[in-house]
């Protein structure tokens, strides 16, 4: 198996561990990831609300490159990238004017895009292409007894919900159940917003959201929160100290990229999964699961 | 009194019609008693120029069999029309194009390629094709121009009567000749111009003795695949029988001996496209629980054109394949 891979900007900075663990995990699954040539930011910024058409063009450039590389689908790991690229496809398909305008822009740099490259979230690929059986077969370190709270975030299945339920996504639940974890399936904060980029502009608002999420995780007695998006992961983990300071709480909940925990179950070494990069120590998690 | 003038011509067809005339057996003597043959290439040696020499309307009755396949056919059609009082389109080919009409699925060029190169039994490395004009020491030889589209006689010239059948049944031929003779003698009236003669009213099913009941079939079968019930309607047994969309007159000879009707007598009155109608009939009796299944079964019929337009493609609404 081989996939074209779009890491996204965060994967080169705050979300480095996500990129590293993704590659490690896929290697364990025998899946080859071919990084997209000369890719650029997906455009998932406030720019979308400033100049929408330009943002479409920015996103479409990546898809155009994927098309040039002769692939009809591209794997993304970030919820924001996923939504943005999928949205671009959808708008180009539904509005010929956008289609023409975007291709006009791409034409200026000698590219064109037919709108046919499918955007695939890595969770989608894991559960629907590789399949839970195949994954389970390769599990060498079952996550028995570990209370996992899968956190999907708001852009995982919304608004499109292409491969999972819009309101109540369950793909990661099923993935970690297959890996033997004690998954908190009724974790009802699983699609609440983490605050996203608000952390930079309206920190108070973002912190409140994180506080809610962490409280929920605690009330559901989660050993670990797993995220499928660099921004979610950073807000929930990196800002725990500030949440504690603001709300007088004492959260110290491990938050991991789902690829890290899955990689662990698939027998990857914590180093390969860049787990030392985590702000909140993952040792309790490692301790909780039998080696 | 002098005898009436009889002519028969063989255009694009197999010659079966010519033989069929002899099928009337001793009745041929009556024909001889009443008619002088003034043109009948297969029987008597006349040349085209003889016919060209006749006065217009010199011929009393001309039985014209075969379709209009090439320029020579068309030339003779026009010539004989001019020279004949009564011009009869004789047989399936003349009335509706017949078997040769099936070439309307392709073009003359495709046909030539098939016959002179593509045919597996052909050894023609130089790719020699018949030329319409060819120089020889004695001068220039020429062949008629082969048409892309087979036409019926009626599509080229004004026809007085149409007599379908591949070939027309002997008893029908005899009957028609009787009527014409009587009419020429002034003893009877000719049928209205343009009439279809030598046929019976209703469809072939009317003459077919098989027991007919409600028809619902789950698929199509060919008679070599099973032993059809000799009493039961063939259509009900899944055999594609053109009977319902075919004019009566032959006496249902095929179905009587267990062969499905091929439709050589053409469509009954009121049906303008035999093939389309039969397609509708056949598809309508396909039965299954869901529309999807019905559609699947219906689509399993091989070669719809050859099945439904075996004789009638040239006279159908579409007449030929897209070129």
């Amino acid at each position: 198996m081989k996939y074209l891979y779009f890491p996204g900007c965060s994967a080169e900075a705050t979300g480095k561990a996500y990129d590293i663990s993704t590659r490690a995990m896929m290697e364990k699954l025998g899946v080859e990831l071919v990084e997209l040539d000369d890719w650029n930011c997906c455009g998932a910024t406030s720019y979308f609300s400033v100049r929408e058409l330009d943002s479409f063009a920015i996103a479409a450039r990546n898809l155009a490159i994927a098309q040039e590389m002769g692939d009809d689908e591209v794997c993304v790991i970030c919820n924001a990238c996923y939504t943005t690229l999928a949205k671009t496809n959808r708008y180009m398909a539904e509005d010929p004017r956008i289609f023409e305008a975007v291709n006009g822009a791409l034409g200026a740099v000698g590219r064109s895009y037919d709108g046919k490259v499918k955007v695939r979230h890595i969770v989608d690929i894991l559960v629907n292409d590789i399949g839970l059986e195949a994954v389970t077969e390769r599990v060498s370190r079952r996550l028995t007894g570990l209370r996992v709270a899968p956190y999907y975030g708001c852009q995982f299945s919304r608004p499109m919900g292409s491969f999972d339920d819009v309101q109540l996504p369950t793909t990661m639940d099923r993935l970690f159940e297959a890996m033997g974890a004690d998954v908190i399936t009724d974790f009802d904060a699983k699609t609440d917003c983490c605050g996203g980029m608000m952390m930079l502009t309206r920190e108070d608002a973002a912190l409140r959201l994180c506080h809610e999420l962490l409280t929920a995780a605690r009330q559901y007695k989660a050993d670990v929160l797993v995220a499928a998006c660099p921004l979610c992961e950073m807000n929930l983990e990196g800002y725990q100290p500030r949440v504690n300071k603001t709300y007088g709480t004492d959260f110290n909940i491990p938050v991991m990229y789902f690829t890290q925990l899955a990689g662990l179950a698939l027998g990857a070494d914590p180093k390969q999964l860049a787990m030392e990069k985590q702000v909140v120590s993952c040792d309790p998690v490692l301790a909780a699961i039998p080696a | 009194m002098s005898k009436f003038k009889f002519a028969m011509y063989w255009a694009g067809s197999c010659g079966g019609c010519e033989i069929a005339v002899l099928e009337i057996k001793e009745k041929i003597l009556e024909v001889d008693a009443n008619f002088d043959v003034v043109f009948w290439p297969v029987a008597v040696d006349f040349k085209y120029k003889d016919v060209e020499g006749y006065d217009d309307g010199y011929i009393d009755v001309c039985l014209f069999n075969g379709c209009i396949r090439n320029s020579e056919n068309e030339y003779m059609a026009n010539l004989l029309r001019k020279k004949s009082k009564v011009l009869v389109a004789f047989g399936a080919c003349a009335t509706m194009g017949g078997i040769p009409g099936l070439i309307n699925e392709a073009t003359a060029q495709e046909l030539k390629e098939l016959v002179y190169t593509k045919n597996p039994s052909i050894d023609n490395p130089e790719g020699v094709f018949p030329q319409e004009k060819y120089e020889v020491p004695e001068g220039e030889l020429d062949l008629p121009h082969l048409y892309d589209t087979v036409k019926t006689l009626g599509q080229c010239v004004d026809v007085d009567y149409f007599m379908p059948g591949c070939p027309p049944e002997a008893h029908q031929i005899a009957a028609v000749l009787d009527v014409v003779t009587a009419a020429l003698k002034g003893e009877a009236a000719l049928p209205p111009k343009g009439a279809v003669v030598g046929v019976a009213p209703k469809s072939c099913c009317d003459e077919c003795k098989r027991v007919k009941e409600e028809k619902k079939i789950g698929g199509f079968r060919r008679i070599w695949e099973f032993f059809p019930d000799p009493e039961k309607c063939l259509l009900e047994q899944g055999v594609v029988c053109m009977g319902p969309a075919t004019r009566a007159g032959c006496g249902a000879r095929c179905t009587t001996v267990g062969m499905a009707c091929r439709g050589c007598y053409g469509a009954p009155d009121g049906v303008i496209d035999q093939g389309a109608k039969m397609l509708s009939t056949l598809a309508s009796i396909v039965d299954a629980p869901t529309p999807e299944e019905i559609a699947e079964i219906a689509a399993t019929l091989p070669d719809p054109v050859g099945t439904f337009y075996r004789f009638g493609l040239a006279s159908s609404l579409l007449r030929r394949a897209k070129v």
């Binding site: 339920d165 819009v166 309101q167 109540l168 009724d186 009802d188 904060a189 609440d192 506080h211 809610e212 409280t215 929920a216 009330q219 | 009213p201 209703k202 469809s203 072939c204 099913c205 009317d206 007919k212 009941e213 409600e214 028809k215 619902k216 309607c233 259509l235 053109m242 009977g243 319902p244 969309a245 075919t246 009566a248 009954p268 009155d269 009121g270 049906v271 303008i272 109608k277 039969m278 509708s280 009939t281 309508s284 009796i285």
Partner: protein
């Protein structure tokens, strides 16, 4: 064909047609078409002066055929055919060309619209000379009416019809009539008790000699046509001899199976396997639940019910009965079902206690309900705070796109009832828009605002049990944005009521197929015309009333039931009804008796006549689908009004321009 003098009448329909189609140009063009003697245009052809144009031309100018280019024939064909008839022309020598719905309204470009209008009109002009005079077929009408569904709509319609002396079959699926209204406590905005106004009607229906009540029964098959429907009804076995049963309910007390969730109480109370759904049930007869009764499920039982039943009404051998009824008209009043809030996962319905549906609250607040009318939480304590969430499943692309019209009002009613029972309890109404459109509704809303209910304009985002503060501990937390204050709020409450929308019956589609009419895209029964025929269906003789057509409140339902009853009466009160003569006929002189059409007729209207060796059409049974016409290989069956040559002519005419 004979020389015909065709009159062409082109309607402007104000600007509806003339705004897009160049009517003058089309008229000029029409005048030059073969056989056209006169071509006129007029602002409103359907107006009296417009119709008079046609009548005059027939009388004074010897018009022998006419075509009206205007709206859809489904709209005005009867109007114009009648006009032709009045003018002395056979109505079926008039055709309509639909240049409004199919042309002016759907086309942007004016030239293109004008050309299309010519093609549509041309088809009819070409066809007309081939039209033949037809006489509508007059068939006798069966005076009986069937009403399907015994809710308030069905009861009302049945009573109205019975009052005119017509025999009515009232078919109800459940053991008792009453429907949803019987479950309600109060009705908005007047707050009169539902039982007080419904039960009299229920018992009246039960006593009415002209109403034959078929409770616990379902329609399985419908044949026939307007005025002459043949309906198969399955009378499900109650395992009770209803003639003997007195409704004393001793069997229910004796029954040993006691833990069956009561449908009538939304599962909030339990009933026995032998049961009477509710005390005011009509007919007041017991029913034995075959899925729960020990005897009927093949288990051991001492059958105390048999011992308890004085009149020996219990009959475990009873079988389903199939009745064949003949009626002239049918009224559909099959109602709605509450939209099940489970898929709206963010509201945690079925996951968290005390998140309840509106119908559950109706039962809880009902004096005859499971709590005796005491509004309490699962733990039996009165809620100190209640949140009522509007538009659950409604106005939502993920669920039901439409507004159910009644939820705002019943939510206000709930708030009032809570305040009435528990004045100290805080009530929050989380709404998108407050839609109080009916008589006295807005006033009721105003009244509630003075009953210190909290109105929060905002669709609730989520109901969660996650507490962020001590006061949220053990509470249900409703997250909602107050769009008027521009803040998000967390409301800790003891009870959440989900004001679900009204949904089509799960089997509405199947039902509509049994009766032979369609459903709208939202799943409710499709009316013949949204404005002018809201209680008719495309099938003549079948009417619809109440929530099976679309969500509506009780007053509208009752009004519609009356309208449907009037529609049915207008039909069955006549001895005969005229049906379209566009049916098939077979010329035995041409038919070879091959039997193909016989087996294909969907209505068994073709039979084989052995002595003629030909098929023949049973006129009364033929509905005019034309399947036989298309299927016959010899082109023998033909359909009046849709002859092959007429269709061919339309094709030619449509392609001349």
């Amino acid at each position: 064909m004979a020389e015909e003098k065709i009159g062409v009448y082109i309607c402007h329909c104000g600007t509806n047609i003339a705004g897009t189609v160049d009517v003058e140009e089309v008229t000029r063009w029409a005048a030059e078409q073969p056989n056209v003697a006169i071509a006129r245009e007029y602002k409103y052809m359907c107006s009296d002066p417009g119709q008079d144009l046609i009548k005059q031309d027939i009388k004074e100018n010897g018009i022998t055929r006419a075509v009206v280019a205007a709206c859809s024939p489904t709209m005005h064909e009867p109007t114009f055919r009648k006009a032709a008839g009045d003018g002395g022309l056979n109505p079926y020598l008039l055709q309509m060309a639909n240049i409004r719905e199919h042309c002016s309204w759907v086309t942007i470009d004016h030239d293109a619209a004008t050309e299309k209008a010519k093609r549509i009109l041309g088809a009819q002009i070409h066809r007309l000379p081939l039209n033949v005079p037809l006489q509508p077929i007059e068939v006798p009408v069966n005076p009986n009416v069937m009403v399907v569904g015994g809710g308030i709509a069905g009861i009302e319609a049945a009573l109205k019809l019975a009052a005119t002396g017509k025999k009515v079959y009232l078919v109800e699926r459940d053991p008792s009539i009453g429907g949803h209204m019987a479950m309600f406590d109060k009705t908005f905005p007047t707050l009169d008790c539902a039982a007080c106004i419904l039960t009299p009607k229920m018992s009246a229906a039960g006593k009415e000699p002209n109403i034959e009540m078929l409770a616990y029964s379902e329609v399985t098959q419908v044949d026939g046509y307007v005025g002459n429907f043949k309906v198969k009804v399955k009378k499900k076995a109650r395992f009770i001899d209803t003639d003997k049963c007195t409704g004393c309910a001793l069997c229910t007390e004796a029954c040993v199976v006691r833990k069956v969730p009561s449908e009538f109480d939304m599962g909030l109370s339990k009933r026995a396997a032998a049961y009477i759904p509710f005390p005011q049930a009509v007919p007041l007869r017991a029913t034995i639940d075959p899925t729960r009764c020990l005897t009927l499920t093949g288990k051991k039982c001492k059958q105390p019910c048999v011992a308890a039943c004085g009149p020996e009404a219990i009959d475990f051998e009873q079988k389903d009965e199939e009745l064949e009824l003949e009626v002239g008209a049918i009224i559909m009043a099959t109602g709605f079902q509450l939209w099940d809030p489970t898929p709206e996962t963010r509201y945690s319905y079925g996951k968290l206690d005390n998140v309840i549906s509106s119908l559950e609250f109706e039962r809880i607040s009902n004096a005859s309900g499971p709590t005796g009318g005491h509004i309490v939480c699962k733990n039996g304590e009165a809620p100190k705070s209640v949140a009522i969430l509007h538009c659950v499943g409604s106005r939502d692309d993920n669920h039901q796109e439409f507004c159910s019209r009644v939820c705002c009002m019943y939510s206000l009613k709930f708030a009032h009832l809570i305040k009435e029972h528990l004045p100290e309890t805080e009530v929050y109404e989380c709404y998108i828009d407050m839609r109080t459109y009916g008589k006295g509704y807005e006033e009721f809303y105003k009244r509630l605002m003075n009953e210190s209910v909290h109105f929060i304009r905002g669709r609730a985002a989520e109901v969660s049990a996650v507490a962020l503060s001590p006061e949220e501990q053990g509470e249900l937390v409703v997250k909602v944005e107050d769009t008027l204050l521009g803040i998000t709020r967390r409301l800790p409450v003891d009870m959440v009521i989900l004001s679900s929308g009204l949904a089509p019956r799960a089997d509405a589609k199947a039902t509509s197929q049994i009766f032979g009419f369609g459903c709208s895209s939202n799943g409710f029964f499709l009316e013949r015309h949204p404005k002018l025929e809201p209680v008719s269906t495309v099938t003549d003789g079948i009417f619809i009333a109440g929530c099976c057509q679309y969500p509506k409140d009780i007053p509208d339902t009752v009004a519609q039931a009356g309208a449907a009853a009037a529609g049915a009466l207008a039909l069955v009160d006549n001895a005969t009804v005229k049906v379209e003569p566009t049916i098939s006929y077979i010329d035995p002189e041409k038919c070879s008796g091959c039997h193909i059409c016989v087996g294909l007729c969907p209505h068994a209207a073709i039979q084989y006549n052995a002595e003629k060796d030909a098929a023949e059409v049973i006129e009364a049974a033929c509905k005019g689908c034309g399947v036989c016409v298309a299927a016959c290989g010899s082109g023998v069956p033909q359909q009046r009004g849709y002859l092959d040559e007429q269709i061919f002519a339309e094709i030619e005419g449509a392609l001349v321009v």
